[in-house]
């Protein structure tokens, strides 16, 4: 059965959403009462199953999200591994090293140090379980802070972080880091 006009709109919004979309926001967008939106969401969820789509719409954390159908995981996983070299690039290794020594640290701080955007690399490192978000900075923007994981230590054959070789700390102090970060803001926020 073809989708209703409202269900199509919900689907389009979920397609571009990166995080689960609360039904309240959908209701606002569609200018409809929430309970009516819930009915539309049910229609959408149902249609994905009846049309045998490769993805499903699920209710999660008070919102809706599109995700791949579980039985297609083998293909998705194979795709995720396409083009992934079996070694970390020099850039990724440097980012990981900075996080290891300066943790907890925000992406913007690492980027300020390395002089390049590190969003893609941190996503990769997080996805592979070498780093993990451990909290948020207190300053404006409340940037996510990252730290290395036990898996990271395990891969390196270490028990504790302080077993990493000592390095001469060439880094400016936290104030200078904050300043660097400040300078980057226009770029990062653009």
């Amino acid at each position: 059965m073809p989708l209703s006009a409202v269900a199509r709109a919900v689907e389009a919004v979920l397609i571009v959403a990166v995080e689960p979309v609360p039904t309240g926001i959908l209701a606002e967008l569609l200018e409809l009462p929430v309970d009516q939106v819930e009915v539309v969401c049910d229609e959408l969820i149902e249609s994905c199953h009846s049309d045998n789509r490769g993805f499903e719409v699920v209710r999660i954390a008070g919102g809706l999200r599109i995700q791949t159908h579980p039985d297609l995981a083998p293909y998705v996983e194979r795709f995720a591994n396409v083009g992934v070299s079996s070694r970390l690039s020099a850039a990724a290794l440097e980012t990981l090293a900075v996080i290891a020594y300066k943790q907890p640290v925000s992406r913007a701080q690492v980027a300020a140090l390395r002089g390049v955007n590190v969003d893609g690399v941190t996503r990769l490192l997080e996805h592979r379980g070498y780093i993990i978000p451990v909290g948020r900075a207190t300053g404006p923007g409340q940037a996510v802070l990252y730290a290395t994981t036990d898996a990271f230590l395990e891969r390196l054959g270490l028990d504790r972080l302080d077993q990493l070789p000592p390095v001469e700390d060439l880094l400016p102090g936290p104030e200078a880091l904050a300043e660097l970060e400040e300078q980057m803001r226009p770029v990062g926020d653009a």
Binding site: A80, L93, A97, Y101, L164, E168, L170
Partner: protein, 260 residues
Amino acid sequence: MVATVSIPAYTGPIEALLHLVSSHQLDIFDIPLADMVDGFVAEIASWETVDLQAVSEFISTAAMLIELKSKRLLPGSGEIEPDEELIGWEERDLLLARLLECQAYAAAADGFALLIEQAAKAIPRTAGLDPDFVVHAPDLLEGVTPDQIAAAFMRATAERPAPVVDLYHVTVDAVTVADAVTEMVRRLPGSGRASFRQLTGHLTSRIEIIVRFLALLELCKQGRVSLDQGHTFGDLEVAWVEGAPTNLAVTGLPTDEYEG
């Protein structure tokens, strides 16, 4: 078939006629254009089939002759050279072609703007992998040691050169033609003939070799050395001119420094 004309002053292809006029071998006033056209029209009538190529060639060339003649007939325009006129036309045609091309690309740009506007209405999905999707990927840290992590940290935090091109930090081999002239004046007299390769064999940078060459050219200009190149791209034979002054007070030398 070639468009030909037959007038008292000339008989032959019309294109050659235009050449004669533009090169002053024939005066445009000696060409009765109306008769020339009548003659050509009469000739066409005798053709079994009309050759469009020949006809267009005639029309285009005749039009140029008519414009040329009418301009010459007008007072105050006598000083315009016929060949300049023709050059003007050629330039104009090229410019016209370029402007037409520009208009085509302007139209293409309008099309691009339209495409961009339409494409912007569809937004691609960029959410990436489902956040809780577990990828059993090969271990990317295979073989990496803690020391390598430390080294990577040092690399990452090492001071970076400012993103401006700062020449103060660059070692510059400044070489001047004057220095090279001095060297040659010391070395060449009494050494007989030397090849350019021998003279520059000990040099490592291209700019030093070039400056040496400039110095030799300068000395040659001053009549103090003779340069001889047996064949194209052959080695240059350099010889000091017997009796030429060996003083170093050379004047009028370029003082530019060449930086390698």
